[in-house]
Each structure stands twice: as structure tokens, then as C-alpha cells.
């Protein structure tokens, strides 16, 4: 994991010179060649991952809200505009499984719908600072992981999406009772904008840790990173 840290501003430059006199004229935007400040910030970010893992209480539930608190209309967010949303065909879609999983048979949408579903009205907090309240329902991820014979002692659960997005979470957060593979949003099947046919809904983490339109799910001990995480967002990003 590396952090892309820009210091175009005068203030930032002055500070960087003041705090790290060893700075050399590196290309700040080259993730393959992080400079000293990049490496220091990455190390602190990994430290913050560990601190947050300690702060995480597996039994602590995210606040739940009444239906009247639901944000309408819902707010679209992705790393691209709403006009570029990729449409997934539910009839041919399948969820591939990889890594430390006993039963790697891909899952169809009807099979996921046949599993017991849980509903939640929770708050979605974006890393940018805004928040919305929504209602999601779907299959608790912990139950799904046990169903597919996943090694729940592994460190990471990784997700890949139809639009090229990807992310990963720690196993304790994956087993949290409010972490679900959401199929419905606001009482109806997910729309393409909000992650049809299946998205991760995890109210104990920031919004970008809720990948949409999943196509693959895996369990691994090798750090899988993520679309934003690989660019410098803190990996754990717990709420």
C-alpha cells in the first residue's frame, strides 16, 4: 500500500521541508516510487489500521434509524458519473468465489435470494464527510461465509465488482451481524446505480468500503487492497 501525497501548496511544501529535511525531488505522483513523506504516511496509515482493529467491537451495532429518517432521493456515488453506470444482466450474472473457500461453486441470484435475509435502516457515511440513511436487506455475510465453507480465521475478505472497482475488509468486520450482501435497497431490488444485483453493505465502515455490483468474493491472507485504498485512502476506514 502506498499513499499518493501531493504537496503542491506553499503551506504544505513549507511544512514538508520543515518536518522532513531528507525530502528529495521525487515524483510525488509515481506510486511505484514513493518518497520519504509517502512512506512515513503509509506506515502511519498501517498503524492506524491496527489501532482501528483494536477499537472495533464485534458486538457493537451501528445506530439504526426509523423509516422516516431515510434520505430521499438516495444519493448516487461512484468513481464515475451516474451516466457511466455499467448494467449487469441478472439472468447471466454469477458471483465467483476464490481463495480459502471450501465450496467454490459460483452463486446465482435466485440462490442468494433463497437464503435467509436481514433488513437494516442504517447510516452511510462517505469519506468525504456527507452521510445519508438508507434501508438495505440481504444475506448476512457471516452466514454466507460459513455456508460456503470459508476459512473465517483468514485475515481478509476481498470483493471484485463489475465496473472494475475492488475493495477488501478485515475478517472480524466481515463477520459483524450488520455486514450483509445486500440484494434490496429501499424495499426493491437494487438498481444499477446502487449496485445491482448484489453489493456489500457494511455500516461499521465508510462508504467506499461498500463495493457495488459484486462479481467475485474471496477469502485470503494476502492483503488485497482496494481501488481507493491503493491510492492512499486508509484501508480499515472503520466508523
Amino acid at each position: 500500500m502506498s499513499v499518493q501525497i501531493g504537496r503542491r501548496s506553499l503551506l504544505g511544501r513549507a511544512l514538508a521541508i520543515g518536518s522532513t529535511t531528507l525530502l528529495t525531488a521525487c515524483n510525488y505522483d509515481d506510486l511505484q516510487h514513493p518518497d520519504l513523506a509517502d512512506r512515513v504516511l503509509s506506515a502511519v496509515s498501517r498503524w492506524n489500521d491496527r489501532v482501528q482493529a483494536v477499537l472495533f467491537d464485534p458486538a457493537k451495532l451501528a445506530p439504526i434509524y426509523p423509516a422516516s429518517a431515510i434520505t430521499r432521493p438516495p444519493r448516487f456515488n461512484a468513481y464515475y458519473g451516474a451516466d457511466q453506470v455499467r448494467h449487469v444482466d441478472g439472468a447471466t450474472w454469477k458471483l465467483d468465489l476464490f481463495g480459502a473457500v471450501a465450496e467454490k461453486r459460483p452463486w446465482r441470484l435466485q440462490a442468494l435470494r433463497a437464503l435467509p435475509q436481514e433488513s437494516q435502516i442504517t447510516r452511510f457515511i462517505c469519506v468525504e464527510g456527507w452521510r445519508v440513511v438508507g434501508q438495505w436487506s440481504g444475506v448476512p455475510l457471516g452466514q454466507f461465509l460459513r455456508r460456503i465453507g470459508a476459512d473465517t480465521r483468514a485475515r481478509y475478505v476481498a470483493f471484485r465488482c463489475a465496473d472494475g472497482y475492488y475493495s477488501s475488509i478485515d475478517m472480524p468486520s466481515a463477520l459483524h451481524p450488520q455486514t450483509i450482501l445486500a440484494l434490496d435497497f429501499l424495499g426493491a431490488p437494487l438498481t444499477p446505480e446502487f449496485g445491482f444485483p448484489v453489493r456489500l453493505r457494511i455500516p461499521t465502515k465508510l462508504g467506499f468500503k461498500n463495493p457495488k455490483s459484486l462479481v467475485a468474493l474471496g477469502v485470503t491472507n494476502v492483503y488485497p487492497g482496494g481501488y481507493w485504498e491503493d491510492q492512499g485512502y486508509n484501508w480499515f476506514s472503520g466508523s
Binding site: 499518493q4 503542491r8 504516511l41 477499537l55 468525504e128 456527507w130 492512499g232 485512502y233 466508523s239
Partner: protein, 206 residues
């Protein structure tokens, strides 16, 4: 009986060290905080990119959540040192509204004498105020960072959105203090060197 005096540093070395570490932490926290604010502004303005730190949201968050350790650890050292050394008791207290009003009026008439080694009542109330804002900004920051794990704290501020406003206004108060602080240093530049070298002050031996 003849009064004996001895000389001591105006600002002892731990205070100087913590002052400048805090300066680095505050500038980094405020600059990166402005960049984070710009991603979802609370008001109808954004901070110009030229005065923010981190260049983009991810960079700003990395700076913010690194400098927070410096701010908090250094701040805790300061509170501990200030309590144990008697710094707070001897330099910051007492402070009465009457004395603050008296010294404020003197200061506005530019008649407030500068006595090295002694904080006047306006200084005392400003320092105590900015310390309280420092505590408030850290606690409201925790409420924004951990609104699930520390939900009770977030609720104390009236929720996640309210905590963001508290965090913003605490920053504004600290920034305002800094403006006054730097203006006074510009007005009386001789106070700058003792904060670097320590300075000397004579005091009576009891």
C-alpha cells in the same frame, strides 16, 4: 534583609519543545482539515487549494490522521507537564473576569505593560480558552472518526453532522487565536526569541 534573586529560563525547554511540535501539528491539522472540508463543504465556500495540505482528499486524510498523533501525544505531555510542574497553577491562575476586563482595556489603550515571566489576565484567558478548544477539537474529531464505536460520544455532540460543525467552529476559534497570537508577536517581536532560546528572567528566591 537583602532580597536575593536568581535567574531562570523564561520558557523552560520542555515548554519550548512542545510549543514548536504543537505548531507543526496545528498547521498540518488545519491545512489538511481544510482540504477534507472542501470534499463536502458545510458552508457556501471552499478553502483555496493553495492554502490546503494533501492536494486531494486521500492525501489530506493521510496527513490529518498522522498529525493527530503528534497533536494528541504532545498535547497530553503538555497537560501532564503543566500540571506537575505547577505551570498552570503559577502562570495561568488565578484569572478573574474583573482582571480580564481591566487588562483588556489597558491593552486596547496600548498601556498594558509587558512583564516577562508573567501572563496578564488577557493572556491567561486566551491561553486557557485555546486549551479548551484544543480539547474540544480532539474530542469532536474522535466523534467524527468513530461514530459507531464511540456512538455515545457522537450522540453527545448531537450526532455526526453536528459534530462536524463543532469540529469546524473549534478550528475557527483556534485559527482566530493564532491570528491574534501572531499579530502580537509581530507587534512585540522581542517575545519570539525566548520561545526559541529560552530567555532569562530574574526572580526572587524564597
Amino acid at each position: 534583609m537583602r532580597k536575593r534573586t536568581r535567574s531562570r529560563p523564561l520558557h523552560p525547554w520542555p515548554l519550548r519543545l512542545m510549543h514548536w511540535l504543537n505548531a507543526v501539528a496545528i498547521v498540518t491539522m488545519v491545512g489538511s482539515g481544510w482540504q477534507i472540508y472542501d470534499a463536502a463543504p458545510l458552508f457556501g465556500f471552499r478553502f483555496p487549494a493553495g492554502i490546503t495540505i494533501g492536494e486531494w482528499l486521500g492525501g489530506a486524510i493521510a496527513w490529518h490522521f498522522a498529525a493527530m498523533w503528534l497533536l494528541v501525544l504532545n498535547g497530553l505531555c503538555y497537560l501532564l507537564w503543566g500540571t506537575l510542574s505547577g505551570h498552570f497553577r503559577r502562570r495561568m491562575l488565578p484569572v478573574s473576569p474583573r482582571a480580564v476586563l481591566r487588562d483588556l482595556l489597558l491593552a486596547l489603550r496600548l498601556q498594558l505593560p509587558h512583564r516577562p515571566g508573567t501572563y496578564n489576565a488577557v493572556q491567561r484567558v486566551l491561553y486557557l480558552g485555546v486549551l479548551a478548544l484544543g480539547v474540544l477539537i480532539v474530542v469532536s474529531g474522535l466523534a467524527i472518526w468513530k461514530p459507531v464505536q464511540l456512538a455515545w460520544l457522537t450522540d453527545l455532540f448531537g450526532g455526526f453532522a453536528a459534530a462536524r460543525y463543532v469540529h469546524f467552529f473549534a478550528m475557527s476559534g483556534i485559527a482566530l487565536f493564532l491570528l491574534v497570537h501572531l499579530a502580537l508577536v509581530a507587534l512585540v517581536p522581542k517575545v519570539l526569541w525566548p520561545m526559541i532560546g529560552g530567555g532569562r528572567v530574574e526572580e526572587a528566591v524564597r
